[in-house]
Subunit: 292 residues, 2 copies
Amino acid sequence: MIETPLINKLAIIGTGLIGGSLARALKAQGAVAKVIGVGRNPQNLEKAMELGAIDAFTHDAGAAVVSADMVVLATPIGAMEDAFRQIAPALTPQAVVTDVGSVKAVVVAAARRHLGERLPRFVPGHPIAGTERSGVTASEKDLFQDRHVVLTPVAETEPQATALVRQMWEVTGSTVSEMTVAQHDHVLSATSHLPHVLAYTLVDHLAHREDSELLFRLAAGGFYDFTRIASSDPVMWRDICLGNREAITAAVRAYRDALDQMLDALDRGDGEQLSELFTHAKRARDRYIKQR
Amino acid sequence: MIETPLINKLAIIGTGLIGGSLARALKAQGAVAKVIGVGRNPQNLEKAMELGAIDAFTHDAGAAVVSADMVVLATPIGAMEDAFRQIAPALTPQAVVTDVGSVKAVVVAAARRHLGERLPRFVPGHPIAGTERSGVTASEKDLFQDRHVVLTPVAETEPQATALVRQMWEVTGSTVSEMTVAQHDHVLSATSHLPHVLAYTLVDHLAHREDSELLFRLAAGGFYDFTRIASSDPVMWRDICLGNREAITAAVRAYRDALDQMLDALDRGDGEQLSELFTHAKRARDRYIKQR
């Protein structure tokens, strides 16, 4: 337990899976004195109180950040512009603001439009964690344990602000690294956004087939895991796709080219090429598993 | 426990994940008196003995089936032709033969070439179970619990042979259904073979990128599950792709067309279409989860 809390008053704008898990992790470590949750769904906020994730809640983001020393934006990407607009006039000069968005360029652009002189206290961030579930009922205090958090400070960002956000995430058990906004959005388009698009496309495609009932009935465990991410929140993923559209489109296009080569090998019945590709993929994944 | 064993002597040709799990499931229920394992890898066969999956082993498939009343071919698809060739002369007229191949047309064709007058005692089958692991060390007696097994008897197949194979799988806790060879291969090309091809292609594609080390380091849980099947045995999957080439090629091509439509929506930044597709996919997957 930390004796003096790292954060005195934390405002969580968007008290869902990520916001709720962060609050619970910080509370479990005694790293925060008070948490105010902001959200639109009263039931979800009541649940957050029950779970001990938050100490109070309001529907007014502006009111929530008054006297907060840390503000975390944990709404879907599409709601962040509004959130910045609402909190900007109420932030104290000392308040540090961060977000948990899966795309960084659009969030930074929205921050630039609304934060004004508070911009240097904004630290763009992304905890690479989460599940296909959403809402505070899915939150867990250990969600960030042994996960990566990427911070993407911009030229104006104050190093002390970045340091505080880093400390906050380290308390949750995460490894924190820094990269540029562009690098983050490029990497995530390949490892997270592309797989989500592929999984959604597969399930939608199969669900439109005439024999879809039989298909799903006979689907095995491999299908279950492969399509897990297609159960993710559609609004969140629409926002990510629109927010990182160029990088995602490029990633999908590059994947489609790889699939065309695979089709070519299948068409030719080229067992040697298939076996080489499968072996290479298996080795790469097995290496990745060992790293984890 | 069943008092009189359903099977007196079971020969498992290919004592790996599926063959080993079947033997262990039947033994756990007292449904088999003696199991002979056949394989090429002595260590794997010793391990199968240790695990109690088999009571004896040999490298000679022909010797193994002498006096066996049930013979299960559980080798990769590419090794089944040889297996049929080796067992055909040694089968007793009473022996029932089945297989566990993920593709049925090629296995049936091989059976037709080699089984001769024993063909009516051959029941093509496919337990829709398995993991990305392989070898008898990965076997589990409960692997088939609550799973589907599909039998695809052909015109010549004796109903009593099908009934015995059905009974055997029911002992393992599976639900058994019957369909035609073509229907099986068509359904599985969509729900199993296609996802495997997509996952292998993604991992291979990302592993070839210059920044692949960074990509894999920052990959999250969603990526882990999405690519699990890309850790499957490459030889087994080469054989499946070659064995069900036409259906798989058609399935990949249809998926690529769906991906082109997705690319089009991304290009246009069509949030409404993306959100509709994601919602439709999520609903379909959530329905599928409920059925399981």
